[in-house]
Subunit: 363 residues, 4 copies
């Protein structure tokens, strides 16, 4: 299936940037998961970004749960959540309709949908579609926390500025929960903010690397071929607009050290098997080993920039020049981190439900 | 589904390292695809590696096609291919049965399968299971070539040694086809071979980065959420043992350049829309744009090494020391490249069949 | 996946009888399918039934398309349609909450969802959930008609009253399109109406057999194992509340005739292969043969009746007596027929899209 | 997916009647299920039929388990079982290659596979492909019995001869286990045997109705839309060659009685909720209610008969006459019953695994 992810718990996204509404249907949720509306709102808020460096928030993004919840708990039937598009008066697209924005999906959408796509504001490809994903993810994150499973994501690097690594993951996740700008080091946080403002002032944009950690996942989850934990997470996470790479544990760096340093030796700790290092990011042979699951994501620079760009007119089939007006985000990494947490949570809920049965997360 | 990948064309892997046989079932292949047994054999040969730096080949790895082929062409029904395990006399596992090899799946298999797994030689987790995958992939590669789609993979780096990048992709793929050691630069090829021999002599191992390019893919293939081309490829490719990272196009490097450099500007070339650069690896918004699909894979060092390692005894629940005997591969990157081509081909066949219908690849 | 049907085109249903809204998400529709709102409305109208023998229609059942349609044509992205539940003031359920209505899903829902289900009005099990299914189906029916594929369903029998069989299927489908009470014979139509009124007056209910025919389906669609056309249709059609049996072609009667009479001999007709009889209902070996697809469905009597019934109190775990108040439909077969057409159309669209590719139905 | 059924436990069938081997891959089986080879053999034996009325058994049908079993227990990885086709010397097909056998899939295979199918002996459509299905099912049946779940199927009717209904289901299943000809009434058993012999002597064939009961299934299994227990079973069971209808509980007969008689009233019995009648076949709203699951299948007459039949030459596109030589089964219902039990068991294992998790059936 196309716009759906997951087997035991599945999520289907629908909607276009300038359509009537956007939303998600989550099927397979255990009955009895409590809906924490405040937490959903706080996650939605984090997705909106920071005034100084983000698009002014015109959208209220009020999440309406249409089904699957009764007396504030999931029923076990499909949960549809919807966000109405407040201001769908479209600007005049007549001039730019056929000018493919470089780095965006305008051209590939034209190829795939043959001109029938809703091109306004990126349509179904818009980053706006991550809003219902964050709402769905908030429910998954709540359910996981009840099981002692915590997820957090910080900006590991932005341009050339580098945050510190996770240290005490539990505490770091709490810190991240409290931050608008998810950088662990206060100094680097300010540096990154300045850098993003500066690049925005130049009419340009920047990407960065997001680093995620998950603690509390039981061992023995995942499959050898092909539903590895890495593969399941990667499949879902590459949907997040601008993600172009993923690495688990030490990732690409692991190729530069010998096996004797890369293998994570096992040892007993309080009667539990642990590894002394975690270069494999909590996963051996596609299956969780009980150590923290860690991965980094490469997020490319926001493709919408002020600088004029070469492109083509898709209708006239000729070269053209594009100047994008309006207010653009010079960076979206700080907003993307809740999307990453959300997608991660939904994938883990799927894996846990498959292993432990349909009621596991609810009761 | 667990040990299966693909929607319109699916591949299921079965078998254990020391069981009776290993194999694959491919369903959804168009009727009429020609089976090129010679090509299958040559791919199998490439997977076996190079005598100087690989495990001596005891296995004949003869591929038997049990079904789905008639008069040397696919019938359109499930194709089962099987490789009998020639020498399944197991060595004595009594001493090491419960010593989890670091970096391997012994511990996670124990967690997942509760002691019922076939632990001999890594069982279902063995790299040996990639043999039927390569055979299945050879059929897919043949079918794609008939459509003008070519895939090639070289070792971009091994340790600190770096190969040149793809230049003329078509010619480079032909060169790679002719090489046992898939390195584009002859000089670097020899350097890498020496490095691998040296690290093997030290009782250690190394990984590397594999770089893959696909040319000829039609534009408009893939889905925005969640079956992006990146996500579909990543899902499948993370099954290849030792793969810990994937990046498309410029990958993690793209996070360090501004949007104005990262966006690939479009232009017309011979009546066709192309991009001037290909930092996005041929994919925008999850969908092919007609440019080469490019990605890199991080392959960790082979976990089997001679050096003694700390571990645990899973039965006694106590710390232990492991020394692995036998002959190990100090590197598997040169062998893994045909596995990467195979998995890539199978995923692309799946996507093309979904878009263009069940007969597309055969007639 | 649970509340979803289909591979290449999938439909997910959401909603509860007394929740905020009910709806469906259809993914995989080709871009460019025209939305005929009038036809959708006329199908919704047919589902509501006939005043004389159906529940008074309080619900307006206005179908809102939230996504996937642009300038009145499908875009190819997920189409979400929603029907708001107008009057969700629930009656007082305190007395009957734990009294399982015989023949309904109250008890099984309690078992499955552990008390978390929305029990009001049958919740997610309510026949009301077929409303979005009919709206989704109307889009599928329109797309099929553009390809020359027509579907029609009549009441073959109600109690002991029997309609005539399909004769000229195309004309009969046109006749059925124009009828509120889908019975081909005018005489039998009136007899059935009287019978239903009579049984309703007795506080009881009746079921019947629905007979469906599809013309225009291309040959060669379906799979031998396990996605037979029979299996795919049956899988989906058993979701329609009250359906308890399905038979293709001559169905159960075929067990009473010898092979020499049951086999449908082939012959050439205007250069096309046809069969002289159609006892197999247009399907051989799970695959369409180009003849009309025909099947009958057994629809059980509406379980809601006025007569008092023995049951249990699920909370107190004791025997109880139930008297259901309110207005009930003494029969729903005449309403179910558009649901049958809808489900059939969605399944056939799925099969056609898989075979001929993602654009087949749109362009 | 095409030749695969099941979500949590999946079965893929491969092979052609005259190919090298036929087989099945079962994925998702819990680790630790004991393999009872004797039981597998006894089920295979039942599928072969009775000498007096069945094709002489040339095939040894030795089941080889290639993977997924270690020390006689399932490992939890894909179990591939294979049956080599002993005698694949094909007869001369030159005369009949293009003569479509009425009632068979020759014509639809030609349409679907465009001439590439293995036409010998029905190829992938052959009833022979049910052999690995029976072997796979035997493992599932064993696992279910460990959980107290029993399945049995008898011939309810053959031509006009009718067996008695199930009475004490547990005892009747034991009786059926011991019978070559699965008819509960001894008298009717002999009548049916004589009838089949007679119709065979006439060069003709007969079908019949199979009646299945399952006891011990826990309540609360299945989904409302679309993975109802009825839908899941029907989907799989329609793959069995010659099955043209399925009805649950009272089936088509339920359309003739009023709701007050059709609804199964609930009552308490030894602290458990039961129904006084079981017209709904143990399923309400698509979900098991703890009562026996009961259904009937319409099996059409074996299409292979001696009598000459009208058909077409698919190559020359002209009318033709077909006379089928060789030995044919005048009936296959007595052989089909183990196939029905097998398919039913596999579907139930799938549903149970989904609900209770991946280890449920093994430990």
């Amino acid at each position: 299936m196309k716009n759906t992810i997951g087997n035991s718990i599945s999520v289907t996204l629908f909607g276009e940037s300038h359509g009537k509404a956007i939303g998600a249907v989550i099927d397979g949720l255990a009955p009895g998961i409590e809906i924490d509306e405040e937490f959903i709102s706080s996650q939605m808020e984090k997705r909106k970004g920071i005034n100084a460096i983000s698009t002014p928030r015109r959208e209220k993004d009020e999440v309406k749960i249409l089904s699957g919840v009764f007396e504030n708990k999931t029923t076990g039937t499909p949960l549809c959540l919807m966000i109405e598009n407040g201001d769908t008066k479209s600007k005049d697209y007549s001039k730019t309709r056929y000018l493919a924005r470089p780095g965006h999906a305008d051209y590939t959408a034209e190829c795939k949908y043959g001109g029938y796509q809703d091109y306004r504001g990126g349509g179904h490809f818009s980053g706006r579609i991550t809003a219902p994903l964050v709402a769905a993810g908030a429910i998954a994150i709540s359910a996981l926390r009840k099981k002692g499973i915590y997820i957090g994501t910080h900006i590991l690097s932005c341009g050339e500025i580098k945050d510190r690594n996770f240290e005490n993951i539990k505490e770091d996740i709490e810190l991240l929960d409290s931050l608008e700008m998810p950088v662990l080091s206060e100094e680097k946080r300010n540096e990154m903010l300045s850098y993003i403002e500066k690049i925005g002032a130049e009419g340009d944009s920047t990407g960065g690397v997001l680093s995620t950690a998950v603690i509390g996942m039981p061992e023995g989850v995942g499959e050898p071929w092909f539903d590895t934990v890495e593969g399941m997470l990667a499949h879902a996470l590459f949907s997040i607009p601008a993600v172009k790479g993923i690495e688990f544990g030490k990732g690409f760096e692991i190729t530069k050290i010998p096996g004797s340093k890369a293998n994570d030796p096992f040892r007993m700790e309080n009667g539990k098997v642990v590894t002394s290092t975690n270069n494999n990011g909590g996963i051996n042979g596609g299956i969780t080993n009980g150590m923290p699951i860690t991965f980094n994501l490469a997020v490319k620079p926001t493709p919408s920039i002020y600088k004029s760009q070469s492109t083509v007119d898709m209708e006239k089939k000729e070269d053209a020049v594009l100047e994008i007006k309006g207010r653009h985000d010079p960076a979206i990494i700080h907003r993307a981190r809740v999307v990453v947490d959300s997608v991660t949570a939904l994938v883990l809920c799927d894996l846990l439900t498959e292993k432990f049965g349909t009621d596991y997360l609810g009761r």
